[in-house]
Amino acid sequence: MQKEEHPNRHKRQVVQGADMVLNEDQRWSLVDLLAKQTISAGTYKQTVWDVIGELTVKPLTGIPVAFAVLYAFWSVFGSFAGALCTDGFFVKFFDNHFLPWMQAIWPDPNSILYFLFVGDPLADNCFEAFGVLTSGLFIAIGVVLPAVLIFYLMMAILEDSGYLPRLAVLVDTLLHKMGLHGYAIVPTILGLGCNVPAITATRILETKKQRFIMMTLLAIFVPCGAQLGIMLEVIPESVGYVMLFLLIGYVVFGYLLSKIVPGTNPEILIDVPPYHMPQRANITKKLWMRTSGFIINAVPFVLLGVLFINLLYIGGVIQWLSDVFAPVFVHWFGVPKETAGPLIAAFLRKDLAVAQLSNIEMTQYQMISAVVLISIYFPCVATFVVMLKEGWKELLAAVGVLFAVAFIYGGIIHAIGILLGVA
């Protein structure tokens, strides 16, 4: 286990092997001496970037800009991924051509293989069919791929411009109340792309307490790009509510965790780098790396996930789980007992789980509750594995917190629905 919060523990080692070691002040004065003799600065005229740099960090102008940036992010994401690619092209292609074709050429609609790979012989769309090669490919390539592609593009622009540290300054006040500080916005935004690199990125936070809170919140309340993409497709009218519930949970449980988790929460102290024009070469490279990573790692997982879920259906496991947990689902969370199936899928892939939910008969509010549950009840297996790498004690604690939060928050959401008369 890594021991930390001992900033000086390497000092003794530094001393070894050196002829002479300066203390901090001596070293800085030597730096000054060196700088004085080697650096000369002419008069520098402020550029438009410097002005923008100031405007985006001052609250009066910066906060509206932050909202505008996030709104632009969201609407480009929604319109490009949802409307243009998926609805405009992939849905037509998969539902009108690919699915009928698969149903026609795959022999014997009553066989197990047909059920596993093509799914429902009567389905007229790729969400309902739920075969590995129909729904699996459609979800992975038709829905989630365009979504993550556009998401990664916008994220790369945000990363390369130098905006993130400024956003961190603007949200610091809020995040500091949640046991974190503003820079926690970096893992959070990375997490909206994929939770896996986000978990590793929690290392930029100083203390164990901060990292633990951040990891737990990521695992519970930050939906990944794949899940966002599928939500936009399956429940476009309810995505806003789901996100609102997740955001409220992020803030409220962050605040509670900051009170419960022992440890310190040092203040923000960060460098704000100058803006750069994002370079096209770097953007394309990152886009390519992340997208190909998605195709190599995620797509097979989606396909295997469908296969696995179908096998569980055949084996009667999901039916059994639905019955066993029916009281909890129906009475506590207020969702149909069939939600058990998608919840299992959610451990493999969240996008798959949301797609599966769309086949279950339920009200809009039940749908919202079920999607929130899928997001919060457990991280996907890939996230689980990187969390393990960051430390198993933390992981165990996080899982404990997670079950408690999922249970409590799921109940609260149900209660809110009852109070509003929509549950």
Partner: protein, 83 residues
Amino acid sequence: MLNSVTQVLNLKMKLSEMEFGAEGVITEINTEKQKINAMGIRVGKKLKMITKQPIKGPVVSTCGELEVAMGVDLASQVVVDVD
């Protein structure tokens, strides 16, 4: 006016209390000196306060080519001779 007085006297002030756009020379860093130094904010350097966020939010200042954001408690430990 108060303004002209400060100009004459070179008022010592906490970074957290400086006006937007005010400049001065850092004279003291009382806590976490090492941490703040490492970011390039040091005694004897010229510093300009850029902005601070509402509700005790962080203070952003520039020090030469560096721009650093620090929490308000840290900023209150940095004393500046404002000119």
